[in-house]
């Protein structure tokens, strides 16, 4: 065995001192230690606590482990040395260390990438904020002066009526005033209003990413009750049937969580299946350190094709059913993710939709 391990021929080893197999720098020390062992022999690993190596015939060192056992023979005391080549294990260990090091480098890269993404998204938010803010200045003029024109138009109409012109001339003037001017103004003003709603929506969305969240233990039943109260009018108008189940407490920002429930419940009521009493079930359960809440409705559902874009900004899937700019679910995702949770939906068109989102169940350690 020793021949294979140290790649010597059997004959080449016979009669050689043991130190032939010891790295040259350690031979004297080994000899001394060997004598010490003969004085007090016991069964033990050799050189415990240090990495041992043997020298092959070609001079290469092999990492080894040696177990020593004293043995009485008819020729006097002897020692059996069990030698194991551990180069395989050493290679695995080295590979493991390398893997750990690679992993920590990858982690560092990942956290740098995360920081970059966070930075970029803050930049985008600031940009959206500034742009939507600055866009309002010309818009206000567009709205204000088209209203001025409308006032002017009304005054002109009164003046024209007061003059007492021939019927036909008067009709001609009214056509100019009502169609050419007022009708045109109508389109300008409704576009300006649409423009304003989009800008306001953008501003609101940029705010959901900017305001500071205060983390505290939340009384979810109270938050849901307050949300339902503030939605009293739409719920009443839809004659919706609201059922609130058990709602475990969670950790998060009370205002933000109220907004999340508010958006989801309002959607559930707004997008009701015509001819069916809207039913909304609200509930929650603890699962793996998080609480999963759901808002389930029996409404029109979400078309399969829309699922991928469901939480994107300015997406509307039933634009004729209700007013809105398509930012509600984008805000919900934003707020849930800022809490470290996730949000998803399952839906069957014509049957209903369930929105689920998670929030941390216990107070989070400060970051």
């Amino acid at each position: 065995v020793a021949e294979t391990l140290f790649s010597y021929d059997h004959d080449a080893l016979l009669g050689q001192p043991l130190e032939l197999l010891v790295p040259s720098g350690l031979r004297d020390e080994h000899e001394a230690l060997r004598r010490g062992y003969s004085d007090a022999p016991s069964a033990r690993p050799m050189g415990s606590g240090r990495d041992l190596a043997g020298v092959r015939q070609d001079g290469a060192e092999v990492p080894i482990e040696i177990l020593l056992s004293p043995l009485e023979t008819p020729d006097g005391p002897a020692v059996i040395a069990g030698i194991v080549d551990i180069s395989g294990r050493k290679r695995s260990e080295a590979a493991l260390h390398q893997a750990i090091e690679d992993l920590s480098i990858a982690n560092l890269g990942l956290s740098r990438a995360n920081a970059t993404i966070r930075h970029k998204s803050e930049e985008v938010e600031a940009f959206v904020y500034i742009v939507s803010h600055d866009l309002r200045t010309p818009l206000i003029n567009l709205q204000g002066f088209s209203r001025e024109l409308q006032f002017g138009c009304a005054a002109l109409r009164r003046a024209v009526d007061a003059i007492g012109m021939p019927e036909e001339t008067l009709r001609g003037l009214h056509t100019i005033l009502d169609e050419d001017i007022d009708g045109t103004l109508h389109y300008i003003r409704s576009s300006a209003t649409k423009f304003e709603r989009l800008i306001t929506a953008l501003l609101e969305l940029s705010r959901t990413g900017q305001f500071t969240l205060h983390s505290e233990t939340l009384d979810i039943p109270a938050i849901v009750a307050a949300t339902l109260e503030s939605l009293g009018q739409p719920i009443g108008e839809a004659c919706a049937d609201i059922e609130v189940g058990a709602l475990p407490d969670a950790t998060g920002d009370a205002t933000a969580v109220g907004q999340i429930f508010g958006n989801l419940i309002e959607n559930a009521v707004k997008y009701a299946q015509p001819g069916r009493t809207p039913r909304v079930e609200i509930g929650g359960e603890v699962a793996e350190g998080m609480v999963r809440y759901w808002v389930r409705d029996n409404g029109v559902g979400i078309p399969e094709s829309a699922r991928a874009r469901l939480f994107q900004v300015f997406q509307r899937f039933h634009p004729n059913m209700a007013e809105g700019e398509g930012i509600g679910l984008a805000s919900v995702r934003r707020l849930v993710e800022r809490h470290g949770g996730t949000v998803w939906a399952d839906s069957a068109p014509g049957v209903g939709t369930s929105f689920h989102f998670t929030l941390p169940a216990k107070p989070q350690e400060p970051a």
Binding site: R136, I140, Q143, G144, E148, L203
Partner: protein, 156 residues
């Protein structure tokens, strides 16, 4: 209750960098039947010059009582917030009533105005009703000369 007093008792100073906005304000004041003198300036520095009678406004009439309509968001070294901070921290000017004008109802902007001691703001585009309501809130209605009250406001 609408009271009347002598014209010119309060001068309305409109501070807005956008010419269109200040023109809209002027027209809406007229539509609200407010006949007080209106002065329009286009920046924070000019507003402070007017208030302190210096620079281009060194020879404006002395002893004017002012009501300031102040745009929060103005470009340049002295923005609306700076003007408000200056007015409220200077003993001679801290009692001048100020109505802030915002182009958004951004809660942060409004919070900043409140912190600086201004609790009346109007969100643009301003209309005559909003302006009358803001005047009512700062308790200045009796000082504002309204020659032809609108019927809707008489009911209010």
């Amino acid at each position: 209750v609408i009271s009347f007093s002598s014209a010119g008792s309060v001068t309305i100073l409109v501070v807005d960098d956008d010419g269109g906005h200040s023109e809209l304000i002027r027209r809406n004041l007229r539509r609200a039947a407010i006949r007080n003198p209106v002065t329009i300036v286009h920046g924070g520095q000019e507003a402070l010059d007017f208030v302190h009678r210096r620079g281009a406004h060194a020879d404006r009439a002395d002893g004017l009582r002012l009501l300031i309509l102040l745009d929060i968001n103005m470009p340049g070294p002295v923005n609306g917030i700076d003007v408000l901070r200056h007015l409220k921290s200077t003993p001679a000017t801290q009692s001048i009533p100020v109505i802030m004008l915002t182009s958004t109802d951004d809660p942060r902007e409004i919070a900043r105005c409140y912190e600086l001691g201004c609790n009346v703001y109007i969100t643009k585009p301003i209309d005559s009703q909003m302006f009358v309501e803001a005047i009512r809130r700062i308790g200045l209605l009796v000082e504002i000369v309204r020659v032809k009250p609108l019927s809707t406001e008489q009911a209010a």
